[in-house]
Each structure stands twice: as C-alpha cells, then as structure tokens.
C-alpha cells in the first residue's frame, strides 16, 4: 500500500513558513541568523562585537526573531540573555521551497525528449519528421 501522507496544513505550517521568509527578507536579520548558525548561541553584545550592526538594532531584531520562534532566549553569563537558533521553522520553510524546486516540468520535458530520441535516429534531428517506414528505426535500445 502506498502511504497516504496526511497533510496537516493547519494555519501553523503556513504561518511558520511566512515568519521564516519575513525574517529572511531583512539583511540584518539574515546576518544575525547566519551568525547564530555558524557560531552558535550568542548574546546581543557578542554579536555586536563581530557584526557591522549596532547593539540596539541587534537587540531589536533578536526580540523580533524570538517572538517569531526563530531563536530562543536563554540565560547566559552575567545575567545577559543568550540567543540560540531554532532550526525547526527553517525546515518547514524548506518544505515549501522543496515543492517549488521539484521542477516536474523540466523532468517531463527530459522524459519526452528521451522517448523521442530513443525511438529512432530520425528524431534526433528536430528539423526532420519521423519517417513512417521501418528504415528509420535502427533498433529500440537506449542510446544512453
């Protein structure tokens, strides 16, 4: 039996994807997410030391990202809040992108081309029509 994946597309899935794309639309937030992804959890002060963004702007963006569930705030040293990337919303957004990237149109074009090519050598030349006689058919194998 083929599986029947139950699409549980509550408002959650789409809302989560939208939050990710909204977050990624801003260059400062992209920079912050990239820094957390590559360097691990960090405080606003840590990030301000290595990024060309003011500490105030970083704090504002991190608060927004935390509200959207893209980062979590956790207690850090010296009572500073440390932010950690949450990967799960990114994966939901990836599912959306995956649907766009499947590209069945190109694949089916390739399938059609392959069937036409392997049907006979005459079809290799798109300017010539396939002759109806059997001379055009040099064998039905794959040409690779």
């Amino acid at each position: 039996m083929p599986p029947d994946p139950q699409p549980r597309t509550g408002p959650d899935v789409e809302a989560v994807a939208e939050q990710v794309f909204t977050a990624l639309a801003d260059p400062s937030r992209r920079t912050l997410l990239a820094a957390l992804a590559s360097g691990g959890p960090a405080t606003a002060t840590d990030l301000a030391a290595v990024l060309p963004i003011t500490r105030q702007a970083i704090a504002k963006h991190l608060a927004l990202l935390a509200e959207a569930g893209l980062v979590t705030a956790e207690p850090g040293e010296r009572r500073r809040v440390r932010y950690r990337l949450r990967s799960a919303p990114m994966r939901v957004a990836q599912q959306f992108l995956a649907a766009l990237a499947r590209d069945w149109d190109s694949r089916l074009d390739s399938l059609q081309d392959h069937l036409d090519r392997s049907a006979g050598r005459a079809r290799r030349d798109p300017t010539r029509r396939q002759p109806e006689d059997s001379m055009a058919d040099h064998g039905g194998g794959y040409d690779g």
């Binding site: 039996m1 083929p2 599986p3 029947d4 994946p5 139950q6 699409p7 549980r8 597309t9 959650d12 899935v13 789409e14 994807a17 569930g69 979590t72 950690r84 949450r86 990967s87 799960a88 919303p89 994966r91 990836q94 599912q95 959306f96 992108l97 995956a98 649907a99 766009l100 990237a101 499947r102 069945w104 149109d105 694949r107 089916l108 390739s110 399938l111 059609q112 081309d113 392959h114 069937l115 036409d116 392997s118 049907a119 039905g140 794959y142 690779g144």
Partner: protein, 144 residues
Amino acid sequence: MGFPDRIERTVELAHPPGRVWTVLTTAEGLAAWFGDEAAIDLRPGGAARMRWTGEGFTAEMRVERVEEPRVFGFTWPIYGLPAGDPRRTYVEFTLEPAGAGTRLTVVESGFAQLPEDAYRTAYDGNTGGWAKELAELAGYLDAA
C-alpha cells in the same frame, strides 16, 4: 492555502504505455531522463536510488506501487530536509493509453506534512539538537 501539498502534471506522449513504462521503471530508463545514475528493485517495498552527479545529490527511494503498465509509485525524501528526516513525499505515475500514445500523469503529494510527533514537541525537541549530539560525541570519545 498558499503552501502546496501536491504537484500534478499530465503530458501526452507519442509512445505506447509499454515503452513509457520501461523508461519509468528500469535503471537504464531512469538514468536516461531522470537522474544521472539509477538503480531499482522493481517491487513494492523495493529500494531504488537516483544519483545526480552534477549536484552530488543522491535520493534513496522506496518502490510502493507496481501495476504494469498502469501505475508506478514511490516515496522519496523532501529535498533540503536533513538526512534521516522521516518525512517523504509520494510520487505516483499513472499511464493511460491515448490513441497510439500515452497520457502520463504524475502526482507528488505530501509536501505540507508535519513530522509524526506532535507539532510543538517536534519543535522543542529540535532545540539544541547539535549541542546534544556534540555532547554525545564527547561522551563517546571519553569512553573510548
């Protein structure tokens, strides 16, 4: 609903279902139009593998439906999700005779599915996944 769960295409092919079936379900056929390399164990539950050498990407597939020469179905991973993510989409090819040719329909569904775990559990469970794995690695190295 902007989040696509299902992709569907129909093409008319000027080749009989038997030939289309062969191209869809043999390693030679799949490697000629779909991937760059392919292997397939053509029976329900059988494993199949497709490799795209240019992208360095391999998809592990599982054959689900084999009803020659009408229905061929398989599941495969959602591109972009981490290896081992249980979510897969289901792809089903349906071949119908149309004159001397074939009407081929491909449906891929399951893009919007969520993990089996409860939504919130899955999300929170992913927090700090790397930290946990690194801790496990450290523990393993210490024990060795």
